[in-house]
């Protein structure tokens, strides 16, 4: 079949899976697409390749297009997040020194209670703590800041520093950072290299955090609506396939290839199954929905998610939350999602905004097919975010 080749940028991470699987498992081809997958060495590079037309679509950190719309960072080309590629998937960990001190006070690494983890960390933090993250505009940073702000860590001296994830284990060993928040497989790589221990999955802070988005240039979305629709459907089908437990082994094998992640399939399997080895002592912990590609309308780009990100960025940068939310709402394209996913099996929620954090248990809500179940999206501190109420 004759296909159109679509250059697509990504960072080699487990959550790039929907794009890699769309191509490798043949979801792109029936849509008449060949994804020319281009691995990038850095997030700035993914953003620039997309902004300046080297690629037409990209796997991107969800806060990046929002920050760009707010005028933060160096590049301001308007981007659209047309769907969410993955929900959750971040990993918070500590270096060996902090791990030993935490064990010293009897902390049991429960891997679930964010408040207890913060209390323990506060008790053992001698001086300032340095957290490594992959990028200044990332869910990693937002989750850390939210966690610090709502716990005993709020008045601790903490610095957040950007470290490329492949260098994180080395930075921990050299003492450049004390702790980290990264996407898998890099947390598990740090454990396997003996550089540290895992403390919390990102979902222990926010149970349903939009992690990566499928991003395109806004003008491209307008001039190439048919290509966009085909891309979105192929990627959505890949996400649905990834959500089936029986797909995991195959997915881990494909992602592990040198052309993609180039790490062992066993490491990737940890993120896909949610079963982690959290320390050099081989302690095992399990987490539900560590990374989510499909269930609970995971791929729907809720405008309220973009507004939460904008609100948090506005607080950190001294900007008006109302202004930030206004521009951010237009970045997450629930309108394009509805248009291009209509007529497929994708769930289309009745609304495009929700109270973020208000779902304490899975909840049935109205959808066009009347049978959509939303997953728990609570913040660990029980607060929720009402996009209309934040001025």
């Amino acid at each position: 079949m004759k296909t159109v080749t679509l250059p697509t940028g990504y960072m080699p991470l487990v959550d790039a899976a929907p794009l890699i699987i769309a191509q490798e498992m043949g979801f792109a081809e029936p849509e008449g697409l060949t994804l020319d997958l281009i691995a990038a060495p850095s997030w700035s590079s993914v953003r620039d390749m997309l902004a300046f037309g080297r690629v037409d679509a990209a796997h991107l950190l969800s806060p990046v297009p929002v920050a760009m719309a707010m005028g933060l960072g160096g590049v301001t080309t308007p981007l659209s997040a047309v769907s969410v590629l993955s929900v959750n998937g971040d990993m918070i960990g500590v270096g060996r020194a902090l791990e030993e001190r935490l064990r010293g006070i009897g902390y049991d690494f429960d891997f679930s209670d964010a408040r207890r983890a913060a209390q323990a960390l506060r008790r053992v933090a001698g001086g300032p703590l340095v957290f490594g993250v992959p990028f200044p505009f990332s869910m990693h940073v937002e989750l850390l800041r939210y966690w610090f702000g709502a716990t005993d860590l709020r008045d601790a001296s903490i610095e957040i520093r950007t470290i490329p994830p492949p260098l994180m284990a080395g930075a921990l060993a050299d003492g450049d950072v004390d702790a980290f928040c990264v996407g898998e497989p890099w947390g598990s790589v740090a454990v396997d290299q003996g550089a540290g221990a895992l403390l919390l999955p990102g979902s222990a802070i926010w149970a349903f955090a939009p992690e990566k988005v499928l991003a395109v240039r806004t003008d491209w979305a307008e001039t190439e609506p048919h290509l966009l629709g085909r891309l979105m459907r192929a990627v959505w089908k890949a996400g649905r396939w990834l959500a089936q437990p029986e797909s995991r082994t195959t997915a881990a094998e494909i992602l592990s290839r040198p052309a993609y992640l180039g790490v062992s399939p066993e490491l990737i399997d940890r993120a896909l199954t949610g079963r982690f080895t959290i320390s050099g002592r081989a302690e095992q912990r399990e987490v539900q929905d560590f990374v989510c590609f499909h269930h609970g309308a995971a791929t729907f780009p809720w405008r309220s998610q973009a507004k939460w990100i904008a609100h948090r960025l506005s607080l950190a940068n001294g900007l008006s939350s109302a202004d930030a939310q206004r521009v951010a709402g237009a970045v997450f394209r629930s309108d394009l999602y509805r248009r291009h996913m209509a007529g497929t099996d994708a769930e289309l929620p009745g609304a495009s905004e929700k109270l973020e954090g208000a779902i304490r248990h899975s909840l049935a809500v109205a959808s066009q097919k009347g049978r959509l179940s939303l997953m728990r999206d609570a913040f660990f501190d029980g607060q929720f975010f009402d996009p209309d109420a934040q001025k």
């Binding site: 060495p41 850095s42 997030w43 700035s44 590079s45 620039d48 390749m49 300046f52 037309g53 080297r54 933060l72 960072g73 160096g74 590049v75 301001t76 080309t77 992959p134 990028f135 200044p136 505009f137 520093r161 950007t162 470290i163 490329p164 492949p166 260098l167 930075a171 050299d174 450049d176 940068n317």
Partner: protein
Amino acid sequence: MTAKLTIVVVEEDRDRAIAIVDALKDSGDHDVFVIGTASGLARRIAAHAPDVVLIDIDNPTRDMLEELTLASGPLERPVAMFVSGAAGGLAQAAIEAGVSAYVVDGLTPERLRPVMDTAIARFRMVRQMRTELAETRRALEERKVIDRAKGLLMKAKRIDEDAAYALLRKTAMDQGRRVAEVAEALVTASGLLS
């Protein structure tokens, strides 16, 4: 006339760094510094208070420089990626050449352009050399494997070198694969059988 520009080049490879520095110095009277290692990158850049920071697009430590674009970053003067500024026309050329630049806010395009033109030309040359080197290396590796495969065929089938190569090439064509791939498969298989 105008004061000198301070330029920081982030580059691990010493020879490459020297080539870039020399070219920049030839293009004008600038202070050029090279930073080689990633550790404490943003802090070390800030210590030079540069007007321009140049870095290879393929360098993964580039994300560490993004912090410089925030007003609260370690540089006191806000830094923008030049590609979005008035000199936006240079963006495409720079990205294709494999260089990204971070420029202190307020630096005029007239002062920036000669620096960027030089950097773009030099990075393009470096990139070309790197690609050529990689391809040469690959070609050499492949030739080694093909020679070994030819040797195996010559011994096993008692044929001469030309016939052995012809056999490899025919097999490759029949299977729609490259000669080097067929040779690789043969070498691997015979390693297993011996």
